[in-house]
């Protein structure tokens, strides 16, 4: 399974190259991978539906409890099939949609990388592994939304999606770590059985809150829903794939996956159900006010995600069954409608659904796909959408509390879906032709194949409800953590659900008829979508930038002296605090000092005083050099020849640098006031005093045995070197040195860049 997940990333690397080699056939070639993966996973359908769980595990970072472990149960398989199947349709479709686009190869690469990340999310059995893939979906979707990076709106939408889902991802990481703490393992399969332990842990509420933030941001639940409609800036195939069929369902997947652990508790049921129901209704309401094809679909997707969340919040058997049924139904019809929207835009150049009609005559295949998908969305029998809607109603009915209200909410949303299906999937294709031009003709095969197949799946799913029942049962069982049979059937007998379903359709037709009046009625709810949480986000971003600007102005004033005071002051505050709190035991300062050492120390002090008092730069440099040489001499006397040698050379090179820099500087003069001098003196004396106390405290506080003996003994046998200092640098602590020389290189390049920058500025004037 590891290779199934990684294959997408590998192919993504080669996608631009393949596209350059064969621009026409590239999409077909690349689609072979998702197709192959779908077939590969389909091969497991029998075993998994039988209740077996396939696992594969490899160590990754065992000391952290992170392993490359994957598991394939009903839930994972259902998602994997959707990801692979819709991925196939989308890759083929992008081939036609982006034909001739100079960066189409890049787009394919992003799509495949996204597919691989998404597969990783649903197959991971380790929380941290899941998190890694979770973040990868955020990153790849950022690239996809911002694919048209020359448009500012696309860039902004991409950043917004990244920040919202990435922020949620951080919360999720914290939640996962706490969950691992409470559950005693990071392996999901191990935690699953310990739901009671986790729910009884004092960490339960923090875990729940953090995980829910992660899931809600990803799945665009209120109040984080605003990024999804904005993400419609992405090219249509990406919208269809990410924002209808897969990525936004990652949050749903997570809720489903963790519901045996975290669910089954009012603390989970109430917020998840409530947020889901609210999102479902708000999304449907706002969708009805949209006229742009993709926005209409996007808001209705928000609503559908709300419905799924609500079902997972309830956590009853019928609700879980409804979730696993609605999931593919929605993916099929919404994916299909999104792709149709792109095809219509491609053919007729029109995005406003109210301005198009009569397209069915010129685009019969696309129209047929759209209508089949719309029928499924409306929940008409005998389509999969009908089964799903019955399921949702049944799920709401099974609610332990507030069942009538939830039932009403689902019926209302169902009615809204009927109307939306009519507006998006039927209206543009019937009636007299308008909004089109003479050149409008049927889309090429790449553009109609995907939506037609997806719509067909919606039809087949309805006609053969039993075919997928074992798989759906396995998925629902995984959500519930207990066996549950899902038996979708077109005819349950004449019951209240059927009546309610029919009422929803009738209501939907009513809403459809009143759609123009609804749109003009821009109620407060409508504005909520645009000016509510979305404006909080904007305000937050502005605040962040203001804060950054303010602290930059404060801390990075451009005055070297201020920098030094801030750096030294911070060190004084932090280290001084630690020193005072630790109640240090100081070593006697002069133990074992010999007379000539004291003379040297005195020389250093005198040279330091001379540096400060000096009235010429050259003299200051010379006396500073004397300080350095004096210290190097003390190193030699104290038996540290390596240190002394390095110190000597550093002093020498510093003097050379000073000499080179010296004649660029203006005439030496004292500019600072008495007060500033006094302040600088105080800071310097404090810093020097702190260092002195620090050294003495370090010498006086030996809690642990010294390691120098170990190094001295191990140096020759283990590292074959007699110079312990060097052995530590290049062998024992080699990794530290590697880090240090990297820092040195970066700092060196930075200094060089600053010097060059100044040169350029001087050249300009």
């Amino acid at each position: 399974m590891l290779f199934a997940v990684l294959s997408g990333f590998v192919l993504a690397l080669f996608a631009p190259w393949i596209y350059r080699r064969a621009p026409r056939g590239a999409a077909w070639i690349l689609a072979l991978l998702p197709l192959g993966l779908t077939l590969y996973f389909l091969g497991f359908a029998g075993t998994v539906a039988g209740g077996e769980v396939l696992r594969s595990s490899r160590p990754w970072a065992p000391s952290l409890g992170v392993s490359l472990s994957f598991s394939l149960d009903g839930l994972a398989l259902l998602f994997a099939l959707l990801i692979g199947g819709i991925g196939t349709a989308v890759v083929v479709y992008s081939g036609g949609y982006l034909e001739g686009h100079p960066h189409a190869g890049r787009f394919h690469a992003y799509t495949l990388a996204f597919m691989a990340s998404m597969l990783g999310v649903v197959l991971s059995d380790n929380l941290l592994l899941l998190f890694v893939f979770w973040e990868l979906t955020s990153v790849s979707s950022y690239l996809l939304i911002g694919f048209d990076h020359e448009r500012e709106k696309a860039r902004k939408a991409a950043l917004q999606a990244l920040l919202v889902t990435g922020g949620g991802g951080l919360a999720l990481l914290a939640g996962f770590l706490l969950l691992g703490e409470a559950g005693g393992s990071l392996e999901i399969s191990e935690i699953s059985g310990r739901g009671d332990v986790v729910r009884g842990s004092p960490l339960y509420l923090p875990i729940l809150a953090l995980v829910l933030i992660g899931a809600f941001t990803k799945s665009a639940q209120f109040p984080f829903h605003f990024w999804l409609p904005n993400a419609m800036e992405a090219p249509t195939p990406a919208s269809a794939y990410l924002h209808a069929a897969t990525m936004v369902k990652a949050g749903i997947y997570l809720l489903a996956r963790l519901s045996p652990v975290l669910g089954n508790d009012p603390a989970w049921q109430i917020p998840v159900t409530a947020v889901g129901a609210l999102t479902m209704l708000a999304g449907a309401w706002i969708a009805l006010q949209q006229t742009y094809f993709k926005l209409l679909l996007a808001w209705s997707t928000v609503s559908a995600l709300g419905a799924l969340t609500m079902m997972l919040g309830l956590g009853t058997g019928p609700a879980a069954a409804a979730a696993v049924l609605f999931l593919p139904a929605h993916a099929f019809y919404k994916g299909s409608l999104f792709l149709v929207a792109g095809a219509v835009d491609h053919a007729a150049g029109e995005r406003d659904v109210t301005r198009i009609s009569g397209l069915g005559r010129t685009m019969p295949v696309t129209a047929a796909a759209a209508m089949a998908a719309a029928a499924s969305m409306a929940g008409l029998p005998p389509l999969l959408g009908f089964l799903a809607k019955e399921g949702l109603l049944g799920g709401a009915l099974s609610a332990p509390a507030a069942a009538p209200a939830l039932l009403g909410a689902v019926a209302l949303a169902g009615a809204a879906y009927v109307a939306i299906a009519g507006i998006a999937g039927v209206r543009p294709f019937i009636g007299p032709a308008s909004g089109t031009n003479a050149e409008t003709r049927e889309a090429p095969v790449t553009l109609w194949l995907g939506p037609s197949l997806l719509a067909l799946l919606g039809v087949l799913g309805g006609l053969l409800p039993g075919a997928a029942a074992p798989l759906l049962s396995a998925a629902a069982s995984a959500i519930l953590g207990a066996e549950h049979d899902v038996r979708p059937a077109l005819w349950h007998g004449f019951d209240s659900l059927l009546l309610l379903s029919a009422a929803a359709v009738a209501g939907g037709i009513g809403i459809y008829a009143a759609r123009n009046r609804l749109r003009s009625l821009r109620s407060r709810w409508g504005r909520l979508g645009r000016s509510g949480p979305s404006s909080w986000y904007d305000a937050g971003m502005e605040g962040l930038i203001l804060l950054a600007r303010g602290q930059t102005r404060l801390l990075q004033s451009g005055s070297l002296r201020t920098y030094l005071i801030i750096v030294v002051g911070a060190m004084l505050a932090l280290a001084g605090h630690a020193l005072v709190r630790g109640g240090p035991r100081l070593a006697a300062p002069l133990s074992g000092a010999r007379f000539y050492e004291l003379c040297l120390a005195l020389l250093v002090l005198v040279a330091a005083a001379a540096t400060v008092r000096s009235r010429s730069r050259l003299a200051a440099v010379a006396s500073l050099g004397a300080v350095g040489y004096g210290i190097a001499l003390i190193f030699i006397l104290r038996g540290a020849p390596d240190l002394a040698m390095t110190q000597f050379i550093v002093e020498t090179v510093t003097v050379v640098l000073f000499v080179l820099a010296l004649h660029h500087l203006p005439q030496f003069s004292r500019l600072s006031t008495r007060g500033a001098q006094a302040r600088d003196a105080i800071v310097s004396l404090l810093a020097g005093g702190l260092m002195t106390v620090f050294v003495l405290a370090a010498a006086g506080a030996r809690h642990l045995p010294s390691i120098s003996g170990y190094f001295a003994e191990a140096s020759v046998p283990m590292a074959r070197g007699r110079n312990i200092v060097n052995v530590i640098l290049v062998d024992f602590r080699g990794l530290d040195t590697l880090g240090e020389i990297t820092v040195l290189a970066v700092a060196g390049i930075g200094a060089w860049a600053l010097l060059k920058l100044r040169l350029k500025r001087e050249e300009k004037p």
């Binding site: 040698m645 390095t646 090179v653 060196g748 060089w752």
Partner: protein
């Protein structure tokens, strides 16, 4: 600074300094020295050329750009940790081979020496880069 004395002295001192820097580098594992000190001495040698003959001459005698030295050094240092990986040992575990040289007897060569070469190159490149930038500001 076109001092004849300095230039003449430079001709003799420069090769000695460069040799000394390599000497420091190579002996570092057993005696005082090492890549850091060696790299500093090497850059001091070139700084001498900069002062005596000017930055252009120093660049010419160096042949490669200092930034190339920095990059090569980092790669060398990081790469010296790789051989251990092929033997299934942790990154940067020292790998040693003993060469039988006819002239000097057995010589132990190890990946830590390669690492020190990387340190040498980085230090050399960084310091020289800054020295040259300062000197070229005229």
């Amino acid at each position: 600074m076109s001092s004849l004395i300095l230039r003449t002295a430079c001709r003799f001192v420069f090769p000695l300094l460069v040799l000394f820097s390599v000497f420091l580098l190579v002996r570092g594992h057993n005696e005082p020295g090492g890549g850091f000190a060696g790299g500093l001495v090497a850059s001091a040698a070139f700084a001498l050329v900069v002062i005596a003959y000017g930055p252009a001459a120093a660049r010419k005698s160096l042949r490669v750009r200092p930034s190339t030295l920095i990059g090569t050094g980092l790669l060398t240092a990081a790469g010296s940790g790789m051989p251990a990986l092929f033997r299934g040992e942790p990154f940067m575990t020292g790998q040693w081979r003993t060469l039988e040289l006819p002239a000097s007897g057995p010589v132990a060569l190890g990946s830590p020496l390669l690492f020190d070469v990387g340190v040498y190159l980085v230090v050399f490149g960084v310091v020289l880069n800054i020295v040259l930038s300062f000197a070229e500001e005229d």
